[in-house]
């Protein structure tokens, strides 16, 4: 298996009834890469992941995961992929160790694998605790332990850090980066921008369609947005003035600042300057953030749907 890409799917489509949840999505993820999978709620991230790991059959499209055909080699893919579900889905009435032993048995691994995994993820001291009594962070740790125990080549994580505190999130990402350095490919879906920025490449999906992909700087650059930051005493007034002005696509307060974002730099600058002078604010051009890009993309995608 010398292919460069761990995931290579094209035209994936999934309909539930008359709703197209995933609409001709194509993805490529290189081996050893951490790929971010971003998009608003209900945009089809989970469904796309399920399609790729053999839990759902696509209505259209084709592709290969780790060199295996997703349409016909589901069982093989399941064995080589680690999939961490969005909702905690291990047995709450089993202890950490029993859960891991269960997974080990299903993948036909020895007892040693369970011991190693427990030690590896710092779960040894808690191994007799019932999974149901664990806090969010520890549950996530257990879920991660369970899906990397069989040493998969590809990890698919569906919003792994939802409801997890910042420290546990940081540790989680360190863990992921370490494993990626060892050659593991990771596809991770998330809502958090800081997490997106920790990915090598990101794929942005909205309303079932893949909108953009690339590295973070590429995505920001390709969006072609300009941003101005306003500082001053009468920002709420400025915000009201700017809404709906030519060139202004987004106005968002950030603490004591006001970010104004637009696609048309010339019109945007004119509107911003007017508003700044009217409210005695100070306007400066600034870097566009990934979040601003996503909000912009989301608004436009919605327009396309309507």
């Amino acid at each position: 298996m010398a292919e460069e890409n761990a995931i290579e799917v094209s035209g994936l489509t999934k309909r539930f009834g008359d709703k197209t949840v995933v609409d001709h999505v194509s993805l490529e993820v290189k081996r050893g890469e951490i790929a971010g999978f971003l998009g608003p709620n209900g945009s089809g991230k989970t469904t796309t992941i399920r399609l790729m790991c053999g839990l759902l059959t696509p209505d259209e499209g084709e592709g290969r995961v780790l060199g295996h055909d997703i349409l016909h080699e589901g069982p093989t893919i399941k064995r080589e992929v680690g999939y961490m579900t969005q909702r905690f889905s291990f047995y709450e009435d089993l202890t950490i160790e029993e859960n891991l032993s269960f997974v080990a048995g299903v993948y036909q691994l020895g007892r040693q694998a369970v011991r190693d995994t427990l030690a590896d993820l710092g779960l040894t001291s808690r191994r007799t605790q019932l999974a149901g009594s664990l806090s969010g962070g520890w549950k996530q740790r257990l879920a991660l332990a369970a899906c990397i125990m069989h040493r998969p080549q590809l990890l698919m994580l569906d919003e792994p850090t939802a409801g997890v505190d910042p420290k546990a999130r940081r540790e989680f990402w360190d863990e992921i980066h370490e494993r990626a350095a060892d050659g593991l490919t990771v596809l991770v879906s998330t809502h958090y921008m800081d997490e997106a920025e920790r990915c090598h490449r990101i794929n942005y999906i909205a309303y079932g369609k893949l909108i953009t992909r690339g590295t973070v700087p590429e995505v920001v650059r390709d969006a072609g947005l300009s941003t101005f930051v306003l500082k001053g005493p009468r920002l709420s007034e400025a915000q009201r003035l700017l809404k709906g002005k030519p060139g202004v696509d987004q106005v968002a307060p950030y603490g004591t600042d006001l970010h104004v974002i637009g696609r048309n730099r010339v019109e945007l600058e004119r509107s911003v300057t007017e508003a700044a002078s009217a409210t005695q604010s100070d306007a400066k051009p600034a870097e566009t953030s990934l979040e601003d890009v996503f909000i912009q993309l989301m608004g436009e995608a919605q327009d396309n749907m309507a």
């Binding site: 839990l55 759902l56 059959t57 089993l94 029993e98 993948y107 036909q108």
Partner: protein
């Protein structure tokens, strides 16, 4: 690595299920305690041939003939005269209110007509709202009355009766000569108890995984549908085995139900029955979406199988269409098998019919369950 079946994976699934079962203390206690409790309760409580039924006597005078009649009636064991001296109006009220099941009226001219050699009459009114109550008590009456009167008058009854008595009808009540309801009910209860716990427990087994979200995880791992089915079904099969031992021991030790036939034949029949039940439960759980639905379907299935299988009411007494319906229930065939083997000492050849049908249920349910099961979430 075999993709479709691995013993290691199956054992892993069974072990997981066993741990979960053990942690769920209440359910576990129910699975073992309920059979014993139900057996005791119903084994002793249900009686198809009720005796010592309350009765009222309306008699004008207390002559020796009346006393002889009353004594004879009480001797049958069916009547217990709790109102030995009621007026006609009182008696009517007692019967209507359900306080007594019978009213025996001896007319004032009973003794006189008897001495004259006339045809005297006594009236027995029975509350036949429940036919089972009335039938046993009433069926013995003709003989009882004539015997009583014969003894009281000290003379032979008239010639017609004598002629009728020359035809002797010999009745052998086979397999259960004393007509003990328990002998019929207790083996049947084993079937009912097994059916309730097995179908209900397994029908919730798979839906629990779906409800708790663990199904998605299970499906994303390399387990085959056959392994999942066996992994869910076999632990309950073990519970069923314990129930069988408990109920059979109690039948023998407490209810003294005869074990006429081969124990191995009995076990073979029970094995097929339990297999059919757990797989049926699994089939239900692959159709419904929540545990609540699973419970409802089980109960929906449970009632007809008690009423139409011949457990409560005689199977042959039902109209043809109901008998056909009854034939589609595993319990019907199980009852034929267990009553045959335990009470009648039936051989394999005698019960091969029910055994084949039970085997057929196993195959049909298993095929249906496996075809229902989805490897994916769609």
């Amino acid at each position: 690595m075999n993709r479709f079946f691995s013993l290691r994976r199956l054992l892993t699934l069974i072990r997981k299920e066993a741990i979960q079962m053990r942690r769920d203390r209440l359910t576990f206690a129910m699975m073992l305690g309920v059979p014993l409790m139900q057996l005791m309760l119903f084994g002793f409580a249900i009686n198809n041939d009720p005796k010592h039924l309350p009765a009222a006597l309306v008699a004008a005078d207390e002559d020796k003939y009346t006393r002889a009649m009353v004594t004879a009636l009480e001797m049958t064991g069916y009547y217990n005269f709790i109102y030995p001296n009621a007026s006609a109006a009182e008696a009517e009220h007692l019967l209507a209110s359900g306080t007594v099941a019978f009213v025996v009226t001896v007319p004032s001219d009973f003794g006189t007509r008897l001495e004259r050699g006339d045809n005297p009459k006594i009236l027995i009114e029975a509350d036949a709202t429940d036919p089972a109550v009335a039938s046993g008590a009433v069926s013995t009456l003709g003989q009882v009355a004539s015997d009583a009167v014969t003894r009281a008058t000290g003379q032979e009854w008239d010639k017609k009766t004598k002629a009728a008595q020359q035809v002797q009808v010999v009745v052998h009540k086979l397999y259960n000569p004393e007509g003990l309801t328990q002998f019929n009910i207790v083996p049947g209860l084993l079937g009912v108890i097994l059916q309730m716990t097995m179908v209900m427990m397994t029908s919730m087994a798979l839906t629990r995984e779906t409800e708790r979200g663990t199904m998605e995880n299970l499906l994303s791992m390399p387990v085959s549908p056959l392994e999942i089915m066996l992994g869910k079904v076999l632990p309950y099969f073990g519970v069923g085995a314990v129930q069988v031992v408990v109920v059979l021991s109690a039948s023998k030790l407490i209810f003294h139900v005869p074990f006429m036939g081969s124990l191995w034949l009995l076990f073979a029949g029970i094995l097929l029955f339990v297999m059919a039940l757990v797989i049926l439960g699994y089939l239900i759980s692959s159709v419904v979406r929540t545990q609540m639905q699973a419970m409802q379907v089980t109960i929906f299935y449970f009632l007809p199988s008690i009423l139409l299988s011949g457990f409560m009411f005689p199977f042959r007494g039902m109209p043809d269409w109901a008998q056909y319906l009854g034939e589609t229930l595993p319990l019907t065939h199980f009852l034929r098998m267990i009553r045959g083997v335990m009470l009648k000492g039936a051989s394999f050849a005698d019960v091969s019919g029910p055994l084949w049908v039970l085997g057929l249920f196993v195959v049909i349910f298993a095929l249906a369950a496996l075809s229902r099961f989805r490897r994916t979430l769609d």
